[in-house]
Structure formats: structure tokens, C-alpha cells
Amino acid sequence: MKDQNTTMRGIAVSDLVKETGAFKAKGCRLVQIGCTGIGDAYEINYTFDKDYVFETVRITVHDGDVIPSIAEHYWASFIYENEIHDLYGLTVEGMSIDFGGHLFHTAIENPFKNPPEVTKVEKETPAPGPEEGDA
């Protein structure tokens, strides 16, 4: 089994669009944009690929920050950016198609917002006792 060629580096939010442009110029495709909550902040990973060399750049943002869209380089970024907006409640500016928060209609708004605490959830006990079981 071969190892997959993946790299990762962090960049500043302000460099994002420029960096993306550089990737575009290199002929990379946009693989994904993904967000992770880490305690008090969010990491957003932008992955690009050319010839199976997956390069990821990471920006770190906080609640309330405005993230620039990379739509000017990659039209298709709207789908990821809307997802981030809907699940994390982060604002992305300049998306090519703005669903206005209607991509995912979730029970709780922005379910991934606020860094998750790793807690073990109490098991809820299934209700039926022996009497109710199908005897």
C-alpha cells in the first residue's frame, strides 16, 4: 500500500484568496473545504490537488469573523461555503450562490457551532421492562 501524498500548512485569513489564486494558477482543482471546531476557534481546511498531490492550507477563524469566499477562483466553492455557513454559523462573503442558510435545514441552528466538548453521553435506558416485552 502506497502512502497518500498529503501536506498541510497554515496561512493567514488575509492570504487566503491570494493563495487560492496561486493554486488555481498552478492548475489545481478544489478538492474540499472543511471546517473543524477546536475549542475556541475554527480551523478551515482548503484542500487542492494536482496529480494526486493533495495540498491543504488552513486558516483559523473565530466566531463572528467574516471569511472571504474563494468563488472568484473556484465557482464550485459555494457548496462548501454554504455548508460551513449552515453548520458552523460562520459568515462567508461573496459566495457564487448563496443559499441564505437554507442548504441544510437543521433542528438546531448551526449544530457544529461552539467547539464540541468531548463528553460521553449518558445512555438513555430503553423504556420497556420485562413486563412489556413480547412474551
Binding site: 443559499f99 441564505g100 442558510g101 437554507h102
Partner: protein, 635 residues
Amino acid sequence: MELLLFLILFPALMGFVFLVFPNNKARDVMVALAALVIIAATVIFFLQNYGAGTVIYEIEPGAVSTAMMAIEVVLALGVLYLAAKYRQWIVGALVVVGTGVALYAETLFTGPEHLNNLFVDEFTLIMAMIIGVIGSLICIFATGYMRDYHGHHKEIADKRKGFFFLLFVFLSAMFGVVFSNNMFWLFFFWEITTLCSFLLIGYAWDEEAQKNAFWALLLNLLGGLGFGATFLYLAFIDPSGDLVMLDSLIAAGPAIAMIPAALIGFAGLAKAAQMPFSSWLLGAMIAPTPVSALLHSSTMVKAGVYVIVRFAPIYDASFVGFLIALVGGFTFLLASGIAISQSNAKRVLAWSTIANLGLIVTCAGIGNAAAVWAAILLIVFHAIAKSLLFLCTGTVEHRIGSRDIEDMGGLISILPKVTIMMIIGIAGMFLAPFGMLISKWAALRAFLDTPYGIVAVILIAFGSAVTLFFWTKWMGKLLQVAWKPEPKREGEVSAAELYSLTTLSAGVIAICLGFPLLSSIVVEPFLEGIYGIGASLGDQNIAIMLMMMVVVFILPLSLIFFRRNPKMIPHYVGGRTETGDMHFAGSMGMQRKVLLSNYYFEGIFGEAKLGKAGNILCTLFIVAIGIVLATGVIA
């Protein structure tokens, strides 16, 4: 005799009265009364004359002819003035040439004066009924309509005096056209209808109205040249003037009458807005709706087919006739096709009118007895159903503020009565067991018995399929009711309008039930007079048709049963929630409205595309007629 003159003169007289009568309310009443008088007179006239065959009325031409000439000159000058003012040089030239030729030709005839200037036969009677009854009903309708019209169009100057004047003068002229045996007279009345049409199209007299009015005038004057040419030709072959009389010309048979028949046919084609002339009729739709109903569907354009049908015996089984049939046939097919691409109700009606006139022309071009039977019935059914449709459209337009079919969705719940009448009209246009279809059917049979008829059969087969499409989609649109329909707004329709509409709808139904009678007492005798044979559908068929008719009228009773405690749920919109007024939960959190539009197929049936094809094709056919005649003459 007196009644006949009364019919020709009375409307014009009333027209002059209206011209000087200032008060609108009182004038409306007068109009209605005058219209009723005309209806009564027409009916009496019909009853007096229907069994009598052809009756010639003798009139001393002298003074009358001179008066006509004088009027002609005055009118020509008037038009010239307008043409000069609006720089319509071609129109001016046509007026000069047309009037000039006619006046000049008149001096060529040296024979004794002919007395048999007016006549009545069964065909005339039918035309008179159409003019007298339907025309008058439209005038009554117009009183209510025009009130609304000026209520809606404040920017247009209220010239209703002139409007009713023109309408009534027009009625006179139409009577004149159908009663004239003298073709000079016919031509005189013919040109008056053209002028009336011109002025009425230009009623609003804004830029577009002027343009369309002049265009209509131009094409009709161009067609009118056919008469001038006929006169010259007739003067050339027989200066005695015998042949200027319609009856003697037709009796002279194809050998002599073919060229005049073709020339007048040319005039008829222009007047009947056949391709390549059809554009004027579309432009004419800018006129107030009663005008469209009266001039541009039920009567004036019928004058065009009237003369062609008159010459049908000449065309019978001739190549020229076949070419004319082709013009009609292709006009029918292509105009029907174009109607698919239109969503403006009046334009649909206009194209459908052109198409149906095309069908009549086809019948006339084929020219055998059965075809003429079909043609005459087509004229009748079309006149009544189409005027009903035009008037309904007008009423609806004033109620919903649009004449676009797309805006008429669910009209049945807003204006149930008017809509039902509209549906009667539509059904009358294409559905068995209603009228038009009977005639189409007869036409089909007639064509199959003639040498080239098969081409016409193919044209009709396709054309009626196309017709089916645009009528049904319109009908469907009207009946398309939302789950929670809009409230009724019927009360606002004026009594005059409602009266005319109801009478006309009743007429459609009556004529559908009564057409066997009509056929046997009027049409068949007429055909026997000309061809020596009658024509009709088989009795068995008529019986079945009538049975179907009865079923059509009984079936609605079942609605009572179906209306009983129905459980109603909203329509299906992919599982999304639906509010009943056609909104549903759409993407991106929007409430979206279900829009249900019909198909129009601009790309296939577009006006530009088919219209152009039709114009070229039909021009070719007309040129071919010319070549055939020319070579025939030379040979």
C-alpha cells in the same frame, strides 16, 4: 325590395344620426334600438325570401351610380389627404390608381344600362343574416364595451360618435356588398368597408394604430386593384357591360370568367387576409374588440371569402382553383401553427380567423358542390363562434386587465358565465359535435372526390391537429382552477355585453342543433341552383351528431352528482406543503408560486418563421396563378 333597400340604407342613416347625437347614454339606447330594428328587419327579410331562389331586383342605375362615383371621389380625396399628411405615398398611389381605374373603366362600357343591379339568393340571405344579426349584436355589445374601454384607456380621446357612425355605415356597406349584382356597386361598397376598417383600426390614432391602419389600408387597396383589373378586362372582352353583372359573369362559365374569377379572387384573398396578406389582420387587432369581432372576423373578412365562394363554380376542378385552394390550405395549416405560438388572446383569434378563412378559401378553390356546402356552413359557424369569442375576450380583458391567455387561468371561478360562453365558442371552433367540425368533416369528404383533393386532405389533416392543440390549451387554461379558487367578479359585466354574449352563445348552440335545417332550406337549394345537385352529410351521421350534442348537454347534469360532498385535498407538489392558492415551500426557503403556463413552441411555430414560409409559399402560388392565366391567354 323595400326591405332590402331599408337594410342597405337604414344603418347608414342611423350612423349619421349618431354622428350628430352628442349624449352618450341616450345614444347607447338608440344604438341598441337601431340594432334591434336591423335584426328584426333581417329576420323578416330572411323569412320572406328563403324559399324563393335567386331574385333579381331592378334599380335604375343612373343617379345611384353617379352618386356612388361622387362619393368615391370624395372619399378618395379624403384618403389622399390623410396619406399625404402621414406620408403614406404608396397608399396614396394605390388610391389614385384604384379609384382612377374604376372610374375610367366605367366609361369603357358602352352597352345599355343594366337594371339588375341588386339581387338576393340563398347565399346572400345567409350573409345578410350574419351581417344583420351578428353585426347588430356586436353593436349592442359595443355600447357597454366602449364605456368600459374609455374607462380603462383615459389617454384615448372619446370619439364614440364617430365610432358608432362607422360601425353602422359599415353595416350598410356590408349589406351592399352582398346584395350587389353590379360589380361596380360591389366594388363601391367593398371600398367603403376597407375605409371603415381603416378608420376603426386607427381609432386610438396613436403611432401604432396609425401604422397598422395604413398597413391594412395599403394591403386592402392593393387587393382592390383586382377589381380594377377585372373591369378593364371585362371592358376589353365585352364592352356591353353584361359581364359586369355577377350572375351573368358566373353563368358565362370558366372559359370566359376564369380570369375575372382569379382577379377578384386576388382581391378576396387580400380582404380575407390570406397569406401573404395576413399581416394586416394582425395589426388590426389594435382596434377596440367589437371592431375585431365585427370587421375582422365575422363580416368584412367574410366579404373576401364571399366573393371567392361566389366564383367557386368557376374554380371547380380547374388548376387555378387548385392553386387558390393551396393558398387557402397552406394558410390554414401555417396560421393554425402560428396560433400555437401566441398567448395574446386576440392574436390567437386573429390567426385562427385567418386559418379558418383559409379553410373556406380551400373549399371554394376546390369548388365542387360538397366543398361549397362546407364553405358556406364554415362561414356561418365561424362568424357566430368567432364573434362570440372576440366579444368574450373583450369583456374578460376589461375585467382582469389582460388579454393574455396566461392570465386567464381559473377564469371559470372568477367570471363563470362569460367563461362558459367562451368555452362554448371555443368548442364551437373545433370540437365534435359542434359546428366548425361538421364543416371540416364535410370538406374532407368533398376534397376526396376531386382530382388533387388529396393535397388539401393532407393539409387539413395536419391543420386540424394543430388547431386542436391551441384551442384545447386555451380551454384548459380557463378551467384550471386552484384548489382554493378566487372569488367571483361577475357583477361588473355590463348588461349590454351580457345580453349580446348570451344571445350569441345561444346562437352557437342553436345553429349547431339547427344546422340540418339551415342546410336543407337554404344551402342545399342554393347548391342545387348552381350545380344541379345538393350536398349534405348522411342522415345517419347527422342523427349521431345530434345525439352527441344531446349527450354533451345532458352530461353536465352529472356535475350535480359529483358535486355532492366531495372530499377535497390539495394537489400534489412533490410532497411539499401546499397552501391552496398555488404556493408551495420552495428552495432556499422561498414560498414559490406554481406557475402553469401553456406551451408555445416559439422555436417551431413562431410567427416569424412560419409566417415567412407561408408568405413565400403563398406568393408563389399566386404568381403561379398569374403564370397559368397568362400562358392560358397567350396559348
